[in-house]
Symmetry: C2
Subunit: 316 residues, 2 copies
């Protein structure tokens, strides 16, 4: 049996990334109901909003689901208390040290996964006692590693560094890409962008439309002097890009960024002034579809790609 | 039969990239003798040097080999005349428009392949009448595309854009990575870094040693205001990086770069002042091995990875 399916008690080793402004209870429960693992993205929620989403998610699915908690926010303690109170079975942590919360969560019987962008941090995760790792490459949307290691380069290195169950993330929006990363050593995948554009995603419809229209080169890693973030190349990006090329200081760029830009763009649909986070794989996403259709296609294409190899298409 | 093997009349769809300061006749003939396709890298050779390498390569192998010609250099006409004179059967062009030389080469009966970093340029290649395409991702060493599309993101898009035989490049240093890119739609691979570090590579031994010691994050895409190039993070890189972060102009950065930096670093072994071009996959390369051993491992690991899928390891 697949190690990820076993760990989470799910049918397919497909995790829906807990994305800010996209991953509410509707998206998470839909993915879990289809046999994947849905994650609520706590990064864009006040604790009381998160609590509401957890309660609604529980009502909408009897399957396992989880919460993604970026550790850089100030209200992490309240968030963790809510997660424990409602007995959420799985927590993905990111953007911080795995040492900080893994023990506390494990003591409560919660399965813990941490997101990394290097095998160095994969080692730290193993030492901290996490149950699995997400290794996310440069092509991923939103927050990103400083070393800019791509998924193709990253997965073999992380696979070599740890025996923990390993999820590949970044650039995966098809069954073929899923199989490709599993050939590289991943046990399953975490998919963001392809679910950000799902009907059940809470992203603003205008943002979803932008995603379906993006071509190659439509995103770029920006804000490198603050926390590297992959953004759609909209008007706001151009401002940031010009400031960076002009050698502006971190403080000046922070001033330009201000507060609430991601909400403005991704949730409120301000396509010019907002910060729009999405992965390179957006170039392959051309439709807004319901989760069940997305899951069905992923699995069919994965199985088809596997069959092609079994049919010796790739021998010479 | 594999479309790449058929096109080039070779045994394995493995092309050795024509890299500056690494890919002389010794490397190219060794790869061709092992059943792949060796390429002489004309980018770092005066026309008369190239002629010498072609003659020696012909003497060292009776298998097909080719020449890689970056079209940005001034002596391209003389280079092409030498290629035609010696009836080199295959030419890979890069860093320029495929329209410029494809017709001329095809008229002489030469098989033409062009290197691209986007599906937009893949379309241009098809229009120009090339026989095959190399699609190279962000993780590749040396010169690189402006859109920063990674191999995992690039191959599916290019595969969709053209029916031409397709070689994946960037981040491929193992049989597993080879299979992964073929699952994504490539018909074969072009491998650079793993051959740059081969015994038969003409790179300076000290540069090869650096490559085997690099970890993740040991390279970075730099020189973005000139022509984006992936470099080892040595002292010269740090100078460039600081200048770029400080907002220096293209002219100032060109001044910093000067001339002959790549030769100084890669061929003469000046590890501090030289420009050292290598891909992210260097993190996976730990030994200086002869080409026959590299090819043997690539093919064994590819076949093993294929077997693992055939053994249903990946079904759930």
């Amino acid at each position: 049996m697949n190690t990820i399916c076993k760990l989470f008690n799910i049918k397919y080793p497909i995790i829906q990334g807990g994305m800010v402004w996209c991953s509410g209870w509707k998206l998470a429960s839909a993915v879990s109901n289809c046999g994947g693992l849905g994650l609520i993205g706590a990064g864009s929620m006040h604790p009381e909003t998160l609590e509401e989403h957890i309660v609604k998610c529980k009502a909408a699915t009897d399957k396992p689901f989880g919460v993604n908690v970026p550790l850089l926010y100030s209200e992490t303690e309240r968030v963790m208390d809510i997660i424990a109170k409602h007995e959420v079975p799985i927590v993905f942590t990111s953007a911080g040290s795995p040492k900080k919360w893994t023990g506390w969560l494990k003591n409560k019987g919660i399965t813990v996964v941490h997101v990394v962008s290097s095998s160095f941090f994969a080692g730290k995760c193993e030492a901290a006692g996490v149950d699995a790792i997400v290794a996310e490459g440069f092509e991923a949307g939103g927050h990103n590693g400083r070393e800019e290691t791509t998924t193709l380069s990253l997965i073999p290195s992380v696979r070599k560094a740890t025996t923990l169950p390993l999820l590949a993330a970044g650039g995966i929006g098809s069954g073929e890409a899923m199989l490709a990363t599993m050939v590289l050593g991943a046990d399953g995948v975490q998919i963001g962008s392809a679910f950000a554009v799902a009907e059940e995603s809470s992203a603003h419809p205008d943002f979803k439309k932008v995603i379906t229209e993006l071509g190659e080169g439509g995103t770029k890693l920006a804000l490198k002097k603050l926390a590297p973030t992959r953004l759609v190349k909209n008007a706001f990006f151009e401002q940031v890009d010009e400031a960076e090329k002009g050698g502006k200081s971190p403080e000046e760029i922070r001033g330009l960024l201000g507060r609430g830009r991601a909400k403005k763009g991704m949730f409120e649909g301000d396509l010019d002034a907002g910060e729009l986070e999405i992965g390179q794989v957006a170039a392959q996403l051309n439709e807004i579809l319901p989760v069940d259709k997305i899951m069905e296609t992923l699995i069919a294409d994965y199985e088809n790609a596997t069959q092609n190899i079994q049919g010796n298409k790739f021998t010479f």
